[in-house]
C-alpha cells in the first residue's frame, strides 16, 4: 500500500479543538498530527474523531511515551499495539522524543533531558533500533527543550543528536522552537546548531510557542504564539535543508481556530518561499 507522505503545513489535532477543526476542515492545513497515546485503547468520541481526521487529511503520528532515553525495557505488548495502530493509519514514519520519560513502569508524562554523553547516545541508539524493528517502519527522533545544563557547551547537544542519528539510522523531527529555547537558555548560536545537522535526515519540522519567565528562563509550553525569532530560525533552517513538512503544535492555552490558522498561513508563506527555491 502507498503511504501518503506529509507535505505542507500541518496542525496538531488536540482534543480541545478537534471537533471545531474537523467540522470546518480548513484548506490551509495540509495534514494533522496525533499522539497515538490519546487514541489507543480509547473509546467514546475518540475513534470517530480519528476516523474523521483520516477521511479529510493525511495523518502523522507523534508519540509521547516511547522516550528513547529510558533505561528500561520497552513494553512489548505496547509496541505490538502501536505497530498495529500505525499500520492501520499507514503512516510513513513514527516519531517520539530523544529524552527520558520514566522507568520501571512509571511514566512522568514529561520530557526529561539526557546528558550528552556517549553512554546516553548508546542507550538511545539501541532503543531506536529496537523500536524501528518492532514498529516495522522508520522512526524519527525529536530534539527536546531542556532547562538543566547537560554538558559544557550547548552545541554538544547537536553533536549528540548527530551521533545518535548516524548510529541508529533514525530520521530527525527537528523542533526549531526547542533549538531556539535551548540556545537562549544556554547561550549558543541556534544557526550553528542547525548547520551541524544532516539535512537528508530531517523528515519533519515542529514549531510552537514558549514563555519567558521573570528570571529569563524560557520554557517550551506549546501555549503561546510563535515568536518572531523562531519564525526567523525556521526560515533559516528551510533555507539550509530545503522544504520540509511543518507541524504547528499548540497544546495549552488553545486560542480560537482562526488565530491558529493565522499562524498556519504565516508558516505556509515561509514554506512556499523555500518550496519555490527547491523547484528552481
Amino acid at each position: 500500500m502507498m503511504r501518503t507522505p506529509l507535505r505542507g503545513v500541518g496542525l496538531g489535532l488536540r482534543s480541545d479543538m478537534a471537533e471545531a477543526f474537523l467540522e470546518r476542515r480548513p484548506s490551509e492545513v495540509d495534514f494533522v498530527e496525533i499522539h497515538p497515546e490519546n487514541y489507543m485503547r480509547r473509546g467514546g468520541r475518540f475513534p470517530a474523531l480519528l476516523e474523521a481526521a483520516r477521511r479529510d487529511y493525511p495523518v502523522g503520528t507523534h508519540g509521547l511515551t516511547m522516550c528513547f532515553g529510558s533505561p528500561t525495557r520497552f513494553d512489548d505488548e505496547y509496541l505490538r499495539d502501536l505497530r498495529a495502530f500505525l499500520h492501520d493509519l499507514d503512516v510513513g514514519f513514527h516519531s517520539d522524543h530523544l529524552c527520558f520519560g520514566g522507568a520501571h513502569g512509571i511514566f512522568l508524562h514529561d520530557l526529561i533531558p539526557l546528558p550528552f554523553t556517549e553512554e546516553a547516545a548508546r542507550l538511545c541508539v539501541s532503543r531506536i533500533r529496537e523500536a524501528q524493528d518492532a514498529l516495522d517502519r522508520p522512526v524519527a527522533v525529536e530534539n527536546v527543550s531542556y532547562y538543566l545544563a547537560q554538558s559544557e557547551s550547548g552545541l554538544d547537544e547537536a553533536h549528540f543528536l548527530v551521533e545518535v542519528l548516524r548510529e541508529s539510522g533514525a530520521l530527525l523531527l527537528l523542533d526549531v522552537n526547542n533549538v531556539y529555547v535551548n540556545s537562549r537558555n544556554f547561550g549558543f548560536d541556534p544557526r550553528a546548531y542547525v548547520d551541524l545537522l544532516p539535512a537528508d535526515r530531517i523528515a519533519q519540522i515542529h514549531i510552537a510557542g514558549h514563555v519567558v519567565r521573570d528570571d529569563g528562563l524560557r520554557i517550551d509550553t506549546h501555549g503561546e504564539p510563535i515568536c518572531d525569532d523562531v519564525y526567523d530560525l525556521l526560515d533559516y533552517t528551510l533555507g539550509r535543508v530545503g522544504a520540509r513538512p511543518i507541524l504547528l503544535e499548540r497544546d495549552n492555552n488553545i486560542p480560537s481556530l482562526d488565530a491558529m490558522l493565522d499562524e498556519v498561513r504565516l508558516l505556509r508563506a515561509i514554506l512556499s518561499r523555500h518550496t519555490a527555491e527547491d523547484a528552481a
Binding site: 473509546g43 505496547y78 527520558f100 520514566g102 508524562h109 514529561d110 539526557l114
Partner: protein, 245 residues
C-alpha cells in the same frame, strides 16, 4: 554517577517528597531540577483537575496532599495521560482520610466513573434485536451503577446528604447519560447485567420475588416506563439476537 542512577534519581526527586538542595545537587543544578519537579507535577495534576474538578474543589487543600501521596507511593503507571485520574481514583478509594468532607468520597466515585465512561474503550455488546421479554436483555457495556450518600449528580447540591442510586452510561452520542433509580429498578438493572443468559421475563420475576414485590398492573406500568426510558437513553440496547440456524 551512572546514567541509570542519574535518571532514576531524577524520577525519585520529581515524584517523591520534597528533596533537599544537597540531594538535588548530586543530580545537577537544584534550582533547575526544581523547575522540572514543578513542571512534572503540574502536568500530572492538570490531568486530574480536568477530569475531577468538583472532587478537587471539595477536597480543598487535601487534594494536593493526597496527590502528593499518589505520586510518591502509587506512582503514575499508565502511559495514557487520560487514565491518570482513574489511577488516582483507584489509589484514593481506600485512602481518603476520615477528615475530608463526607461528600468528597461520593464526588470522587461519581466524577471518576463519568470520566471512565467518557474515555475508556469497552467491548462491543453482543448482537441484539428489538426488546422482547422472551430473550435475554442486552445492556450497553459502558455503564456503571453507583450508590452514593449525597446529591453529587446535582450541580451545587453535592453537600446535601441523600441516598441515591445513579445509573451512568455512555450514550450513542458518546455523552454520559444518567438515570436515578429506586432499589427495585437498580436490582433489575444489576440482574440484567449479571444474568446474560436469562430472559427478561425471568429476570423481572426473579427480582420481584427476591424483593417481595407483587407483579401488579401498577408494577407492570412502572416497569414499562423504566424499560422505555432505558431504551431511549441507550442504556438498554434490546434483546440478544437468537443464534442463526
Amino acid at each position: 554517577m551512572t546514567l541509570e542512577a542519574r535518571l532514576f534519581g531524577m524520577q525519585a526527586a520529581f515524584l517523591g517528597p520534597e528533596p533537599s538542595d544537597d540531594a538535588l545537587a548530586a543530580l545537577g543544578n537544584p534550582g533547575r531540577l526544581r523547575v522540572y519537579r514543578a513542571l512534572v507535577r503540574a502536568g500530572l495534576f492538570d490531568a486530574v483537575r480536568r477530569a475531577l474538578p468538583r472532587t478537587v474543589e471539595a477536597l480543598g487543600a487535601d487534594a494536593e496532599t493526597l496527590f502528593d501521596a499518589f505520586l510518591a507511593e502509587g506512582h503514575p503507571k499508565t502511559r495514557y495521560y487520560w487514565r491518570i485520574p482513574l489511577e488516582l481514583a483507584g489509589f484514593l478509594e481506600t485512602r481518603l482520610p476520615a477528615g475530608v468532607p463526607p461528600h468528597a468520597r461520593d464526588l470522587l466515585r461519581y466524577e471518576s466513573n463519568r470520566w471512565r465512561l467518557r474515555n475508556e474503550a469497552f467491548d462491543a455488546p453482543p448482537e441484539f434485536t428489538s426488546l422482547s421479554f422472551d430473550r435475554p436483555p442486552v445492556l450497553t457495556p459502558a455503564r456503571a451503577l453507583l450508590r452514593v450518600g449525597h446529591r453529587v449528580d446535582v450541580p451545587g447540591e453535592a453537600q446535601v446528604a441523600e441516598s441515591r442510586i445513579l445509573s451512568l452510561h455512555r450514550d450513542r452520542h458518546h455523552r454520559v447519560a444518567m438515570l436515578v433509580l429506586n432499589e427495585t429498578s437498580a436490582a433489575l438493572l444489576e440482574a440484567m447485567g449479571a444474568s446474560p443468559d436469562r430472559t427478561l421475563s425471568d429476570i423481572v420475576q426473579d427480582v420481584a420475588r427476591a424483593r417481595g414485590v407483587a407483579i401488579t398492573p401498577s408494577f407492570i406500568e412502572k416497569l414499562s416506563t423504566l424499560l422505555e426510558s432505558m431504551l431511549a437513553k441507550g442504556l438498554l440496547l434490546g434483546s440478544l439476537r437468537a443464534p442463526s440456524r
